[in-house]
């Protein structure tokens, strides 16, 4: 099972610690986020030290400056969502929950370190957070409401194909769909 590098005792990685992260982010409760569901299997990864316990780093695409810049942007967007007051949507929406932001941050760290484009980061009327990519007539959404409720929706406007369900149960690799949607955004 996964070893998490203690952030208070950072050290070099041994060869044994290089591996493919099929279960990279374990959440409390019933649901386990499978990074393999999001990140293509054809690349190599290692766990690196970070201030929040651990990060997945895609060494094939790793560009520290670009990725850190995207992470900062994502963090700022999440922080802004936490500032929204109750009723922000004019229809009585609750404040955005810290749990939804925390889960979204975990997802975003994995996605952005793996060089996925920064999604739109938007609040939901249930107090959750949604990550969205739209392009090439493809709509992809990952919505985090709580650790037990992370859903995915995608739709290809041209073919009419659509799917909606829990993260990790997608019938097609989510990474491919996100990359197709995001490829028009540069």
């Amino acid at each position: 099972m996964t070893d998490v590098i203690d952030r208070f005792h950072p050290r070099s990685l041994s060869d044994k610690e290089w591996y493919y992260p099929r279960s990279a982010a374990t959440l409390s409760g019933e649901q386990t986020l499978s990074a393999g569901a999001i990140i293509p299997a054809s690349t190599n990864y290692y766990y690196g030290y970070s201030s929040t316990a651990y990060s997945l780093v895609n060494v094939s695409f790793f560009d520290p400056y670009e990725n850190i810049s995207k992470l900062r942007e994502a963090a700022a967007a999440l922080y802004a969502l936490l500032q929204l007051p109750e009723g922000w949507d004019s229809y009585g929406a609750p404040r955005i929950s810290g749990e939804a932001v925390s889960i979204s941050w975990t997802l975003l760290r994995q996605l952005l370190w793996a060089d996925f484009p920064l999604p739109r980061i938007v609040p939901t009327a249930d107090g959750g957070v949604q990550l969205e990519w739209y392009g090439n007539n493809i709509d992809v959404q990952i919505e985090a409401t709580s650790s037990h409720d992370i859903s995915v929706f995608y739709r290809d406007v041209e073919t009419g194909e659509s799917w909606e369900g829990a993260l990790g149960e997608e019938p097609r690799p989510l990474a491919d769909i996100i990359r197709r949607a995001a490829s028009s955004n540069g």
């Binding site: 949507d89 009327a125 969205e132 959404q141």
Partner: protein, 158 residues
Amino acid sequence: MTASNFESPYTDERDSIPEHALLYRRIHGEFIDWSSVDTGGKPRLTGQAFQDYSLQAAQRLGLPAPCMSVALGFILEGHGLPPEKVLEGFDDTYGVAVLTAGDIRSLYQGVMAKPTTDEPWHAIVFSINSPKKNKTVRSALAEKAQWVHVPQKSERQS
């Protein structure tokens, strides 16, 4: 509860709200994809703009099940008011979009008048065959909706 045995507590008022009736929906700027524009140069509405009330919000309003609020165009018109009336009291980062009753019914949604003292044009749109709108329905509503009033971008969205 599955879709097959779901019974909505609301009634689709087909007789009093005809297919061509206009339904106006106030839209928060967070629900707009400013990076995509339609052929008319207007930003893309996202499915988030057509979410049902959260459970807590619905309960606070005394609504027995999830639904979303709209304004009935013919009642607004009867009062001599424009669609922008629904923006009264809100800043310029809110806009207005319009759907027809026919649009929403084609997606297994119903519409029922729910007038309030302040808003006699108030109505609700609800799912007929499931407890609440799923993302497929919300996205389809966003595609069918037309802009009436495009809001200004907020500082965060700029």
